[in-house]
């Protein structure tokens, strides 16, 4: 075997293309030929280095940068007869993403409202071990302190309860979850709470239909009764709420917003209704977290918890439709003022600026 033949074997061996016989032939030669041994060493080093070249990534999303061009291509392809439909496909992804956000929101609100009602209605059912959970405890205490039968105090209790839930965040779920076995013993109503709070982000089929059914009703009649994985306890407990005829939720201003159809769900912070469990939208890339606090949208950097952005305060307006784009660090949301006029906005991580949404109907008016 000459050195030239061995060269080919060495090359193929770098690509894992040799069988055993070829490998041993190559090795035999290398052991007796210092030149080939040196060459093999250098080629191996080179090959290793090539394999370790950095997997460079673009400094921005190339797909995002060509979306306008893709839109134009689509326009040209579908023109003229389907021109009207063009903006539809362009927004389908974000729409469906928003829909799932609605679902989550609806579920979260329904859960929060139900929890508030439950506490208001059945102060005696609060978990005896409620010291495991400070906010839950506080809410329960205040609800029993106020008279659950009078409507306006109970509304504020509901509000407070909800706020407690939203402030204390995720730790609470862990606590509740951990507490659930104890509560289940002889506390059917209480045991149902941890079970649905433990998965606040799961879409809940019973509530997911964005139809015109008031959320309140769906919570009572469909939502929780049909909620999967909950066992019998929730049905029992909510049956009790239903049939008990205790405080009329209709009288409570704090609950009122939830009676809006789920499809137009907003977060009306100024009305004093705080959404129960998480009012937190984590970005898909895990870098940022958007929250609504004091009627402002705030974006935090998760790595160090720093506040990156805070929207201006617009009294009487509400912020909703909050949804992150996939992995691009762009957050979309809608601000609706008191007259019902909605402005679609987006916040971009790259610039940390708020601006009108790029694919909003307004900007699409441009030719």
């Amino acid at each position: 075997m000459n050195c030239e033949e061995v060269m080919e074997l060495m090359q193929r061996s770098l690509d894992g293309d040799l069988d055993k016989a070829e490998t041993s032939r190559m090795k035999e030669h290398i052991q007796t030929c210092p030149d080939c041994a040196a060459m093999f060493e250098r080629l191996t080093l080179l090959s290793d280095n090539l394999a370790q070249l950095p997997r460079v990534v673009p400094s921005f999303s190339i797909v995002d940068s060509i979306l306008p061009q893709l839109e134009m291509i689509e326009l040209a392809a579908n023109a003229p007869q389907e021109a009207i439909r063009l903006e539809q496909p362009a927004q389908r992804t974000s729409r469906s993403a928003r829909k799932s956000v609605y679902r989550r929101l609806a579920g979260a609100i329904a859960a929060g409202v139900a929890a508030g009602l439950l506490i208001v209605s059945w102060p005696s059912l609060r978990p005896p071990q409620s010291d495991q959970n400070n906010s839950f405890n506080a809410a329960s205490v205040s609800s029993s302190g106020s008279n659950a039968a009078s409507s306006s105090p109970s509304a504020s209790v509901t509000d407070q309860t909800a706020r407690q839930f939203s402030v204390s965040g995720e730790d609470q779920y862990g606590d509740l979850e951990g507490a659930s076995p104890k509560m289940e013993a002889g506390q059917p109503a209480a045991s149902s709470e941890p079970s649905f709070f433990s998965e606040p982000n799961e879409p809940e089929p019973g509530i997911s239909e964005p139809d015109s059914t008031p959320l309140q009703e769906s919570a009572d009649t469909r939502g929780f009764a049909e909620e999967p994985n909950e066992g019998n306890a929730p049905m029992t407990s909510f049956g009790a709420v239903d049939s008990g005829g205790t405080p009329a939720p209709e009288d409570e201003p704090g609950v009122e917003p939830s009676e809006e159809p789920a499809a137009t769900l907003q977060v009306p912070m100024s009305s004093g209704f705080a959404i129960a469990p998480p009012v937190v939208w984590a970005s898909p890339d895990g870098k940022y977290e958007a929250v609504i606090e004091e009627n402002r949208l705030k974006v935090y950097q998760l790595a160090d918890g720093s506040l990156l952005f805070e929207s201006e305060e617009h009294p009487d307006s509400t912020i909703g439709d909050i949804v992150w784009d996939d992995d691009t660090g762009v957050l979309h949301y809608t601000r609706t003022d008191a007259s019902g006029e909605a402005v679609r906005l987006e916040w971009t991580a790259a610039s940390s600026q708020e601006q009108p949404e790029a694919d909003s109907p307004e900007s699409e008016d441009r030719p």
């Binding site: 090359q11 770098l14 690509d15 290793d48 070249l53 689509e74 992804t93 996939d326």
Partner: protein, 182 residues
């Protein structure tokens, strides 16, 4: 790895699926462009062009080929066109390589080459050799996948790859010796 049903949805006219598909391949497209063109801006331009071409030509993709090789064929073609437009082709045999090493390069016989040296050396290769190396090492393609991407016979791919490695080895070796002579 792009899921087959995503490709099918994109081909069936689901524009969202198509955009999602582009997002999935964006990085691999850019990586090839970056190492073929050795320039970030050119790589971004070429990647945009490639993704737009994929967007408009998705229906020409046939399942008998691997999707990733189809994608790489598009991006390498664009880069080669771009390269031909932008720079005069240099034959490696005719060119005498002069490497300007830093003054302090140590006389280490087999030190690892740094990424920039390797990129510059790749940049000196004839375009087909360079493309084969990039697909082999930056996309982890097999001989067959490279052959499919470049529409070349298998043996040609091997011979390009082997020669490219020898050339790179010699370029980088000269570079190190050049450093010693400093």
């Amino acid at each position: 790895m792009v899921k087959p049903d995503l490709i099918q949805a994109a081909q069936a006219g689901d524009r969202d699926a198509l955009v999602e598909l582009l997002r999935e391949i964006e990085q691999q497209v850019y990586r090839t462009a970056y190492y073929l063109l050795n320039n970030e801006q050119d790589a971004l331009d070429a990647s945009q062009e490639a993704l737009i071409r994929i967007y408009t030509k998705i229906n020409t993709y046939e399942e008998k080929a691997l999707f990733k090789t189809w994608v790489q064929r598009i991006v390498t073609n664009i880069c080669i066109d771009k390269f031909r437009r932008n720079r005069p082709s240099v034959s490696i045999e005719e060119h005498e390589f002069v490497f300007h090493a830093g003054d302090n390069v140590e006389a280490e016989v087999l030190a690892a080459y740094d990424a920039e040296e390797i990129r510059d050396a790749i940049d000196k290769l004839p375009e087909h050799h360079r493309t084969v190396v990039v697909l082999r090492y930056l996309q982890d393609f097999s001989y067959n996948e490279i052959a499919d991407s470049l529409n070349l016979p298998l043996n040609t791919v091997k011979s390009y790859l082997f020669r490219a490695r020898q050339q790179l080895q010699s370029l980088l070796h000269d570079f190190q010796k050049g450093g010693v002579r400093g």
